[in-house]
Symmetry: C2
Protein backbone atom coordinates (compact mmCIF):
# COMPACT_ATOMS: atom_id res chain seq x y z
CA UNK A 1 0.00 0.00 0.00
CA UNK A 2 2.91 2.36 0.68
CA UNK A 3 5.96 2.29 -1.57
CA UNK A 4 8.49 4.56 -3.26
CA UNK A 5 7.02 6.88 -5.89
CA UNK A 6 7.78 6.37 -9.58
CA UNK A 7 7.48 8.89 -12.41
CA UNK A 8 4.27 7.12 -13.52
CA UNK A 9 2.88 7.45 -9.97
CA UNK A 10 3.67 11.16 -9.99
CA UNK A 11 1.87 11.59 -13.31
CA UNK A 12 -1.15 9.76 -11.88
CA UNK A 13 -0.96 11.99 -8.77
CA UNK A 14 -0.56 15.21 -10.79
CA UNK A 15 -4.28 16.20 -10.67
CA UNK A 16 -4.06 16.28 -6.86
CA UNK A 17 -0.69 18.05 -6.84
CA UNK A 18 -1.89 20.56 -9.42
CA UNK A 19 -5.10 21.32 -7.48
CA UNK A 20 -3.07 21.87 -4.29
CA UNK A 21 -0.69 24.38 -5.86
CA UNK A 22 -3.48 26.15 -7.76
CA UNK A 23 -5.43 26.71 -4.53
CA UNK A 24 -2.41 28.47 -2.90
CA UNK A 25 -3.57 27.56 0.57
CA UNK A 26 -0.89 25.20 1.87
CA UNK A 27 2.36 24.94 -0.14
CA UNK A 28 4.90 27.63 -1.10
CA UNK A 29 5.02 26.37 -4.69
CA UNK A 30 4.22 28.53 -7.73
CA UNK A 31 0.66 27.86 -8.93
CA UNK A 32 1.86 27.58 -12.56
CA UNK A 33 4.58 25.02 -11.86
CA UNK A 34 4.87 22.44 -14.66
CA UNK A 35 4.68 18.69 -14.05
CA UNK A 36 8.44 18.43 -14.72
CA UNK A 37 9.33 21.16 -12.21
CA UNK A 38 7.02 19.61 -9.64
CA UNK A 39 8.48 16.15 -10.23
CA UNK A 40 11.98 17.51 -9.68
CA UNK A 41 11.03 19.22 -6.40
CA UNK A 42 8.85 16.40 -5.04
CA UNK A 43 10.71 13.31 -6.31
CA UNK A 44 14.23 14.11 -7.55
CA UNK A 45 15.66 16.54 -4.98
CA UNK A 46 14.40 14.74 -1.84
CA UNK A 47 16.11 11.68 -0.37
CA UNK A 48 12.92 9.59 -0.57
CA UNK A 49 9.37 9.99 -1.90
CA UNK A 50 6.56 7.56 -1.12
CA UNK A 51 3.00 6.96 -2.35
CA UNK A 52 -0.02 5.49 -0.69
CA UNK A 53 -1.92 3.36 -3.19
CA UNK A 54 -5.33 1.68 -2.79
CA UNK A 55 -6.43 -0.44 -5.74
CA UNK A 56 -5.32 1.57 -8.77
CA UNK A 57 -5.65 4.92 -6.98
CA UNK A 58 -2.73 7.02 -5.70
CA UNK A 59 -4.34 8.63 -2.66
CA UNK A 60 -1.39 10.35 -1.03
CA UNK A 61 2.32 11.04 -1.17
CA UNK A 62 5.15 12.48 0.88
CA UNK A 63 8.79 13.41 0.39
CA UNK A 64 11.61 13.28 2.95
CA UNK A 65 14.88 15.20 2.73
CA UNK A 66 17.56 16.77 4.90
CA UNK A 67 16.42 20.21 6.04
CA UNK A 68 19.93 21.67 5.81
CA UNK A 69 23.37 20.69 4.52
CA UNK A 70 26.58 19.63 6.25
CA UNK A 71 26.52 20.24 10.02
CA UNK A 72 22.72 20.68 9.84
CA UNK A 73 21.86 17.55 7.88
CA UNK A 74 20.73 15.47 10.88
CA UNK A 75 17.29 17.14 10.87
CA UNK A 76 14.90 16.18 8.10
CA UNK A 77 11.99 17.91 6.42
CA UNK A 78 8.87 16.33 4.91
CA UNK A 79 5.88 17.43 2.86
CA UNK A 80 2.61 15.51 2.58
CA UNK A 81 -0.29 15.61 0.11
CA UNK A 82 -3.55 13.69 0.19
CA UNK A 83 -6.04 13.54 -2.69
CA UNK A 84 -9.35 15.28 -2.08
CA UNK A 85 -11.35 12.04 -2.10
CA UNK A 86 -9.15 10.55 0.64
CA UNK A 87 -9.19 13.44 3.12
CA UNK A 88 -10.53 13.03 6.64
CA UNK A 89 -9.72 9.32 6.75
CA UNK A 90 -6.47 9.39 8.69
CA UNK A 91 -4.19 9.05 5.69
CA UNK A 92 -2.01 12.07 6.60
CA UNK A 93 -1.46 10.50 10.02
CA UNK A 94 -0.34 7.21 8.41
CA UNK A 95 1.98 9.05 5.99
CA UNK A 96 3.51 11.12 8.79
CA UNK A 97 4.05 8.08 11.01
CA UNK A 98 5.65 6.21 8.11
CA UNK A 99 7.91 9.20 7.39
CA UNK A 100 9.08 9.25 11.01
CA UNK A 101 9.99 5.56 10.79
CA UNK A 102 11.91 6.11 7.54
CA UNK A 103 13.62 9.20 8.98
CA UNK A 104 14.85 7.19 11.98
CA UNK A 105 16.06 4.40 9.66
CA UNK A 106 18.03 7.00 7.66
CA UNK A 107 19.59 8.32 10.87
CA UNK A 108 17.77 11.64 11.21
CA UNK A 109 17.45 12.92 14.77
CA UNK A 110 14.50 15.27 14.34
CA UNK A 111 11.90 16.46 11.83
CA UNK A 112 11.18 20.10 11.05
CA UNK A 113 8.43 21.76 9.00
CA UNK A 114 9.56 25.23 7.92
CA UNK A 115 6.28 26.78 6.87
CA UNK A 116 3.00 25.30 8.12
CA UNK A 117 0.41 27.82 6.95
CA UNK A 118 -1.36 28.97 10.11
CA UNK A 119 -4.80 29.06 8.49
CA UNK A 120 -4.45 25.34 7.72
CA UNK A 121 -5.78 24.52 11.17
CA UNK A 122 -6.44 20.87 10.38
CA UNK A 123 -2.75 20.37 9.61
CA UNK A 124 -1.49 22.37 12.60
CA UNK A 125 -3.70 20.36 14.98
CA UNK A 126 -2.75 17.06 13.35
CA UNK A 127 0.99 17.72 13.63
CA UNK A 128 0.55 18.77 17.26
CA UNK A 129 -1.38 15.55 17.95
CA UNK A 130 1.50 13.61 16.38
CA UNK A 131 4.04 15.23 18.72
CA UNK A 132 5.20 18.29 16.80
CA UNK A 133 5.44 21.62 18.57
CA UNK A 134 5.41 25.16 17.19
CA UNK A 135 8.94 26.58 17.62
CA UNK A 136 8.03 29.97 16.22
CA UNK A 137 5.72 31.82 13.85
CA UNK A 138 6.81 33.91 10.86
CA UNK A 139 4.44 36.89 10.44
CA UNK A 140 2.70 37.24 7.05
CA UNK A 141 4.93 34.62 5.48
CA UNK A 142 2.36 33.20 3.02
CA UNK A 143 0.15 34.84 0.39
CA UNK A 144 -2.98 32.73 0.81
CA UNK A 145 -5.20 32.38 -2.27
CA UNK A 146 -8.36 33.46 -0.39
CA UNK A 147 -7.17 35.09 2.85
CA UNK A 148 -4.24 37.25 1.75
CA UNK A 149 -1.15 37.34 3.96
CA UNK A 150 -1.18 34.74 6.74
CA UNK A 151 1.45 33.58 9.25
CA UNK A 152 3.46 30.37 8.97
CA UNK A 153 4.52 28.13 11.85
CA UNK A 154 7.87 26.40 12.17
CA UNK A 155 7.09 22.98 13.67
CA UNK A 156 9.48 20.43 15.12
CA UNK A 157 9.62 16.94 16.60
CA UNK A 158 12.59 15.12 18.09
CA UNK A 159 12.89 11.55 16.78
CA UNK A 160 15.16 10.42 19.63
CA UNK B 1 33.66 49.46 -2.64
CA UNK B 2 30.56 47.23 -2.76
CA UNK B 3 29.56 45.62 -6.06
CA UNK B 4 28.21 42.38 -7.49
CA UNK B 5 30.51 39.38 -7.10
CA UNK B 6 32.23 37.83 -10.13
CA UNK B 7 33.71 34.34 -10.46
CA UNK B 8 37.19 35.89 -10.11
CA UNK B 9 36.09 37.63 -6.89
CA UNK B 10 34.81 34.33 -5.54
CA UNK B 11 38.11 32.63 -6.32
CA UNK B 12 39.93 35.46 -4.50
CA UNK B 13 37.50 35.08 -1.56
CA UNK B 14 37.81 31.26 -1.47
CA UNK B 15 40.45 31.16 1.34
CA UNK B 16 37.97 32.96 3.62
CA UNK B 17 35.02 30.82 2.48
CA UNK B 18 37.04 27.64 2.84
CA UNK B 19 38.22 28.56 6.36
CA UNK B 20 34.63 29.30 7.40
CA UNK B 21 33.26 25.95 6.22
CA UNK B 22 36.24 24.01 7.59
CA UNK B 23 35.71 25.52 11.06
CA UNK B 24 32.06 24.25 11.13
CA UNK B 25 31.03 26.98 13.55
CA UNK B 26 28.60 29.14 11.57
CA UNK B 27 27.34 27.74 8.25
CA UNK B 28 25.47 24.54 7.44
CA UNK B 29 27.75 23.79 4.51
CA UNK B 30 29.80 20.59 4.15
CA UNK B 31 33.41 21.22 5.22
CA UNK B 32 34.72 19.43 2.10
CA UNK B 33 32.65 21.45 -0.39
CA UNK B 34 34.58 22.21 -3.58
CA UNK B 35 35.06 25.72 -4.95
CA UNK B 36 32.58 24.94 -7.75
CA UNK B 37 29.90 23.69 -5.36
CA UNK B 38 30.42 26.71 -3.13
CA UNK B 39 30.28 29.08 -6.12
CA UNK B 40 26.99 27.55 -7.20
CA UNK B 41 25.44 27.91 -3.72
CA UNK B 42 26.84 31.37 -2.95
CA UNK B 43 26.71 33.03 -6.40
CA UNK B 44 24.57 31.09 -8.89
CA UNK B 45 21.47 30.05 -6.95
CA UNK B 46 20.89 33.36 -5.12
CA UNK B 47 19.23 36.35 -6.76
CA UNK B 48 22.22 38.62 -5.98
CA UNK B 49 25.70 38.28 -4.49
CA UNK B 50 27.87 41.25 -3.50
CA UNK B 51 31.47 41.79 -2.44
CA UNK B 52 33.11 44.44 -0.30
CA UNK B 53 36.48 45.35 -1.78
CA UNK B 54 39.18 47.59 -0.30
CA UNK B 55 42.20 48.14 -2.54
CA UNK B 56 42.79 44.72 -4.11
CA UNK B 57 41.37 42.83 -1.13
CA UNK B 58 37.94 41.14 -1.05
CA UNK B 59 37.06 41.58 2.64
CA UNK B 60 33.47 40.39 2.71
CA UNK B 61 30.54 39.04 0.75
CA UNK B 62 26.84 38.31 1.04
CA UNK B 63 24.13 36.62 -1.00
CA UNK B 64 20.43 37.47 -1.16
CA UNK B 65 17.65 35.13 -2.32
CA UNK B 66 13.99 34.39 -1.80
CA UNK B 67 13.57 32.25 1.31
CA UNK B 68 10.70 30.27 -0.22
CA UNK B 69 8.98 29.83 -3.58
CA UNK B 70 5.65 30.99 -4.97
CA UNK B 71 3.33 32.35 -2.26
CA UNK B 72 6.29 32.58 0.13
CA UNK B 73 8.72 34.44 -2.14
CA UNK B 74 8.18 37.90 -0.60
CA UNK B 75 10.55 37.09 2.30
CA UNK B 76 14.25 36.97 1.51
CA UNK B 77 17.21 35.20 3.07
CA UNK B 78 20.83 36.36 3.21
CA UNK B 79 24.18 34.97 4.28
CA UNK B 80 27.25 37.07 5.12
CA UNK B 81 30.95 36.27 5.38
CA UNK B 82 33.80 38.55 6.43
CA UNK B 83 37.50 37.70 6.06
CA UNK B 84 39.39 37.12 9.30
CA UNK B 85 41.55 40.24 8.90
CA UNK B 86 38.46 42.46 8.53
CA UNK B 87 36.48 41.23 11.54
CA UNK B 88 35.47 43.58 14.36
CA UNK B 89 35.44 46.64 12.10
CA UNK B 90 31.73 46.95 11.38
CA UNK B 91 31.82 45.33 7.97
CA UNK B 92 29.04 42.83 8.72
CA UNK B 93 26.85 45.76 9.74
CA UNK B 94 27.54 47.53 6.44
CA UNK B 95 26.87 44.35 4.45
CA UNK B 96 23.62 43.70 6.30
CA UNK B 97 22.41 47.28 5.85
CA UNK B 98 23.26 47.12 2.14
CA UNK B 99 21.39 43.83 1.81
CA UNK B 100 18.29 45.36 3.40
CA UNK B 101 18.39 48.22 0.89
CA UNK B 102 18.75 45.79 -2.04
CA UNK B 103 16.00 43.58 -0.62
CA UNK B 104 13.61 46.54 -0.49
CA UNK B 105 14.57 47.52 -4.07
CA UNK B 106 13.78 43.97 -5.20
CA UNK B 107 10.38 44.16 -3.48
CA UNK B 108 10.99 41.84 -0.52
CA UNK B 109 8.85 42.57 2.54
CA UNK B 110 10.97 40.91 5.21
CA UNK B 111 14.28 39.14 5.79
CA UNK B 112 14.65 35.79 7.54
CA UNK B 113 17.72 33.87 8.74
CA UNK B 114 16.85 30.18 9.09
CA UNK B 115 19.74 28.94 11.19
CA UNK B 116 21.81 31.41 13.20
CA UNK B 117 24.07 29.18 15.28
CA UNK B 118 23.33 30.12 18.90
CA UNK B 119 26.96 29.85 20.01
CA UNK B 120 27.83 32.56 17.46
CA UNK B 121 26.94 35.22 20.02
CA UNK B 122 28.60 38.03 18.10
CA UNK B 123 26.29 37.41 15.16
CA UNK B 124 23.15 36.95 17.27
CA UNK B 125 23.79 40.25 19.09
CA UNK B 126 24.64 42.08 15.86
CA UNK B 127 21.45 40.96 14.11
CA UNK B 128 19.42 41.95 17.17
CA UNK B 129 21.09 45.39 17.17
CA UNK B 130 20.15 45.72 13.48
CA UNK B 131 16.47 45.05 14.23
CA UNK B 132 16.16 41.28 13.84
CA UNK B 133 14.30 39.28 16.46
CA UNK B 134 14.51 35.60 17.38
CA UNK B 135 11.26 33.95 16.22
CA UNK B 136 12.18 30.56 17.58
CA UNK B 137 15.06 28.24 18.39
CA UNK B 138 15.62 24.78 16.91
CA UNK B 139 17.18 22.47 19.53
CA UNK B 140 20.50 20.82 18.64
CA UNK B 141 20.20 21.85 15.01
CA UNK B 142 23.93 22.32 14.30
CA UNK B 143 26.93 20.02 14.82
CA UNK B 144 29.49 22.59 15.91
CA UNK B 145 33.14 21.79 15.15
CA UNK B 146 34.27 22.36 18.75
CA UNK B 147 31.10 22.38 20.87
CA UNK B 148 29.07 19.46 19.50
CA UNK B 149 25.33 19.91 19.06
CA UNK B 150 24.15 23.50 19.53
CA UNK B 151 20.81 25.25 18.94
CA UNK B 152 20.01 27.47 15.97
CA UNK B 153 17.86 30.59 16.04
CA UNK B 154 15.39 31.62 13.36
CA UNK B 155 15.73 35.41 13.09
CA UNK B 156 13.47 37.86 11.26
CA UNK B 157 13.10 41.53 10.40
CA UNK B 158 10.22 43.25 8.63
CA UNK B 159 11.46 45.57 5.86
CA UNK B 160 8.18 47.54 5.73
Amino acid sequence: MIREMTRADFEAFWPTFSAVIKAQETYAYRSDMTLDEAYQIWCELPAKTYVWQEGDQILGSYYLKANAMGPGDHICNCGYMVSEQARGQGLATKLCQHSQDIARELGFQAMQFNAVVSSNEVAVKLWQKLGFSILGTVPNAYRHGRLGLVDCHIMYKSLA
